[in-house]
């Protein structure tokens, strides 16, 4: 057992192993003051099968760690001839199952070495990019305290194409430094004729404790089971995950023999797993996969965060958002101008939450027209327009789980156009030129109408340019008003497909289109005034032949 801090926990663990019938050899780091070490020794005095090996000054990533474990292993093999398996553990490795079960497990597999050992070429585990180079470069500087020198020296060696020769007879392997080897394999490694040569080589390898035994075991072992009996998880930075009290149920379920790293103040974990009264038997194979899933989720969550969320600790830079919004939503442009009570109809026909123009200049027209909506979003236009993209992002975030649909048009605040266009979650269906319909029905003076029409056409044209831009990632479908009125079936089908789950309900009633008699004439008048409403498309002066209101239209059937 390798110990360097938190000696009270180490003592507790050593006692546990020893009382479970396993001899323990401890390596205590030279950094521990002598006084503390003596006290530690006295605490364990009453146990017969505990030995202390020569203390070394250990540093992370350096040979001294391997040297210490070699000393300890030698002492172990010498002093306790009955030992068949040697398990390398640390002061933060907590046995999760009774020691007896581990002993039985190993007795049933007398020739098996449990050591995680993979060839570097095939497994991209390493953090920081140094994989094969660990074995071919020199590392005289400390990665932890002299990072800059370390990096520069590595770069220099790369530039000079410096390479160390890997000794014959070994293929570099790497894996977890917590192994369990048989007496046979371990003594072969320690007493091998070429040990000096290998030691000299590995002394200059970076992090040799992850490769020394892993490589040499491949030369001597008859039966390698390439996995560690110690459960340990690493985060993105290559730091071991720490287990806390609230991981108790998770650790219990894992059925692993040993877990690290356990937080030193996790009293509940230590009390539970080191208690003598543990009787529950679980004879199943260790199954770290259960824990793997949970931890890889955590790693992913850290890596990409929750899509569509901005909060105190997540403020993605443009391009790194992993999703601008949290969930798919639909934007309908022009429909509410063209159909009478369009929202009510949509509400009845689909299961989604149907808003009006949430970017309306007067107020945000939330579904139900409340003053506040989910997450206490206010309908106040000033509040909304101060940060419209935040408003939209919050709206989508706050209603995750329920599809949101809202109306949009040139009369609304336009600041979110880019956000929606770039958002893969957005589905935007546009009928261009539909803004002309309410103008046609309005009772204003023609010069006023002309001015408004020109303004709205300009706004919509800019908006459509954005939707058609190279950067747009939203699903965009654009129809001109003329196209739409000519054959509304396909776009309407699309709207329903977008929003409502197909199999839920049958649509029995089609939305009623506003009366367009004379609309062609109206457009021609605009043209005559020099204002060409080109976004409307080719709308014939005589109007478009449509089934009159007397003959009820065939309903859209959605199955």
């Amino acid at each position: 057992m390798m110990v360097h801090t938190d000696l009270h926990r180490a003592a507790q663990l050593a006692r546990h192993w020893s009382e479970g019938g396993c001899p323990v050899v401890l390596h205590v780091d030279q950094k521990v003051p002598n006084k503390r070490f003596d006290k530690f020794k006295r605490e364990l005095e009453d146990l017969p099968d505990i030995r202390f090996c020569k203390r070394r000054h250990c540093e992370w990533g350096k040979w001294s760690l391997v040297a210490a474990s070699q000393d300890a292993s030698e002492l172990m093999l010498e002093t306790f001839p009955s030992v068949q398996h040697v398990y390398l553990a640390s002061g933060a490795c907590l046995p999760l199952r009774p020691v007896r079960e581990l002993v039985e497990y190993l007795e049933k597999r007398p020739k098996t070495d449990f050591i995680e050992s993979a060839t570097i070429r095939d497994v991209p585990w390493t953090v920081g990019g140094l994989d094969m180079e660990r074995f071919t470069l020199r590392f005289p500087f400390s990665w932890k305290t002299q990072r800059r020198l370390f990096d520069r020296y590595v770069r220099l060696q790369r530039r000079l194409k410096f390479r160390r020769k890997i000794p014959d007879g070994i293929t570099p392997h790497m894996g977890s430094q917590w192994w369990c080897l048989t007496r046979q394999t371990l003594s072969a490694i320690l007493e091998g004729p070429e040990r000096e040569k290998y030691d000299a080589y590995f002394k200059r390898v970076w992090i040799p404790d992850e490769s020394y035994y892993q490589t040499l075991a491949r030369c001597f072992s008859v039966n390698i089971e390439s996995r560690s009996l110690t459960l340990s998880k690493f985060d993105l930075m290559g730091k071991p995950h720490i287990f806390y009290d609230d991981h108790l149920p998770l650790l219990k379920r894992s059925d692993c023999f040993v877990a690290r790293k356990v937080w030193v103040n996790a009293d509940k974990l230590y009390d539970k797993f080191l208690s003598k009264e543990r009787i529950e038997e679980c004879r199943s194979e260790p199954d770290p996969a259960k824990i793997d899933r949970i931890f890889s989720q955590a790693v992913m969550r850290r890596k990409v965060g929750r899509p569509g969320l901005v909060n105190q600790c997540r403020f993605p830079r443009e391009g790194s958002e992993h999703g601008l919004s949290a969930a798919p939503y639909t934007v309908l442009e022009g429909f509410s101008d063209l159909f009478v009570d369009f929202e009510d109809w949509l509400e009845k026909s689909t299961t989604a939450c149907i808003h009006g123009h949430i970017f309306d200049k007067e107020r945000a027209q939330f579904a139900g027209r409340g003053k506040v909506f989910a997450g206490c979003l206010s309908d106040d236009p000033v509040l909304r327009d101060y940060a419209p993209t935040d408003f939209l992002r919050n709206l989508i975030w706050n209603t995750r789980g329920e599809k949101q649909v809202f109306q949009f048009g040139p009369r609304d605040t336009q600041d979110t156009s880019w956000f929606m266009a770039k958002d893969v979650n957005a589905s935007i269906i546009v009928v261009t030129g539909a803004w002309a319909v309410p103008l046609f029905h309005s009772n204003r003076s023609f010069s006023e109408i002309r001015e408004i029409a020109a303004e709205q056409q300009r706004i919509e044209s800019d908006h459509v340019d954005i939707l058609r831009s190279y950067y747009a990632k939203a699903r965009v479908q654009i129809y001109t008003l003329a196209e739409f009125v000519q054959s509304p079936t396909e776009p309407m089908q699309r709207v329903i497909d977008e929003i409502g789950p197909r199999t839920m309900r049958r649509i029995t009633e089609a939305p009623r289109m506003v009366d367009l008699t004379g609309f062609g004439k109206f457009l021609q008048n605009l043209k005559n005034q020099g204002m060409h409403p080109y976004l409307v498309g080719d709308f014939p002066i005589e109007g478009i032949e449509r089934p009159g209101p007397k003959r009820p239209r065939k309903p859209y059937l959605v199955n």
Partner: protein, 342 residues
């Protein structure tokens, strides 16, 4: 040298001077403080310390102390700014509180920051420190099963020195003054509701600090004066060094790397929340008083309407308000994240 580099250096120099100015100012302002009880000899190495300035907070203090004691705090350092409701005597009697008093201007001490920074300079160096107001209760991921010490250990192991928290204004259902609250009660027993998420986020240059605004105060009081609406980002937990300075209350700090409590690449560090228990029944009385004291805002006249609105005993609750249930609920709503601390 390129122009960009010159600009970078110039900004760096300017921020450095600014930081030094704040530190010198804090050292100067120490003369305004008189010790009432100094128990700082009890402070042990590596202990997490709480710092704060208070004024007339006898209602909240008993619960505040017991809340943070339960999180593992063993020592509190307070500046009392002229309380007359017994807060001073109460604090002086606590075995784990060191107390200073002053009657100088709160506003001219940068809203208490100068005083607290002096205490941080003197006693906080090398400690993890929590700088709080009496109406702020810290919530962090796993807070019912792990201690604050566990959190600081994690931050340290991931090379972070500061921890961000977003302020969440809690309010009661019904007019704020119609509730009953006695000194020592848990404010959360009547302040149960909050706004789920109506918050907006900006980054401010050159200090790269967050500027988070929104919440119930903005929804109700500041809808037409958005620039003045309250700032919700805070950096309450910092491993302090004498070289650090708070710039704008605990909203932003120098050196600027301490403001990076968020991540750019979608990479989430853990974050917390400060439950803001401002809207206790006493608020209507207090806002009348504060309106006349004019000690809370740089341009207090502009906030008179806010005080007036508060004095009218408003009901902040609305049908989409969320009832507070704990950190997991906040995480689910996206107001905090456990990040890499699993």
């Amino acid at each position: 040298m390129s122009k960009g580099l010159i600009n970078t250096l110039r900004t760096a120099l300017r921020l450095r001077l600014k930081r030094q100015k704040f530190i010198v100012r804090a050292l100067w302002k120490r003369r305004e403080l008189q010790a009432v009880v100094d128990r700082t000899a009890q402070i042990k190495r590596d202990e997490i310390l709480v710092f704060g300035t208070i004024r007339n907070e006898i209602g909240r203090l008993p619960h505040f102390l017991s809340y943070y004691r339960a999180l593992g705090i063993r020592h509190f350092l307070f500046v009392d700014n002229g309380s007359d409701d017994g807060s001073r005597a109460f604090l002086a009697d606590q075995p784990d509180v060191s107390l200073w008093t002053t009657s100088a201007s709160y506003k001219r001490s940068r809203y208490g920051v100068d005083w607290v920074m002096w205490l941080l300079w003197k006693y906080g160096h090398g400690h993890w420190t929590l700088t709080l107001d009496a109406d702020e209760l810290l919530v962090f991921p796993h807070n019912e099963s792990r201690s604050l010490r566990d959190l600081t250990n994690h931050l340290e192991s991931t090379a972070r020195r500061s921890f961000g928290a977003v302020m969440i204004d809690l309010y009661p259902k019904g007019p704020v003054s119609d509730q009953t609250f006695q000194s020592g009660d848990d404010p959360l027993s009547i302040l149960k509701w909050y706004d789920g998420d109506n918050i907006r986020y900006q980054k401010q240059m050159p200090m790269e600090n967050y500027w988070i605004q929104g919440g119930v105060r903005e929804r109700v009081f500041f809808a037409d004066e958005l620039r003045r609406s309250p700032t919700l980002n805070k950096i309450p937990l910092v491993k302090w060094s004498r070289r650090f300075a708070f710039v704008n209350s605990t909203h932003s700090m120098l050196p600027k790397r301490l403001n990076r409590v968020y991540d750019h690449n979608g990479n989430t560090p853990p974050s917390g929340a400060l439950l803001h228990t401002k809207f206790l029944p006493e608020i209507t009385r207090k806002s009348v008083e504060e309106k006349h004291r004019k000690e809370h805002f740089a341009n207090s006249v502009l906030y008179e309407r806010y005080y007036d609105a508060l004095a009218e005993n408003p009901d902040l609750w609305c049908e989409t308000s969320v009832k507070y249930e704990g950190w997991e609920q906040l995480e689910n709503l996206g107001l905090l994240s456990r990040g890499d601390w699993d």
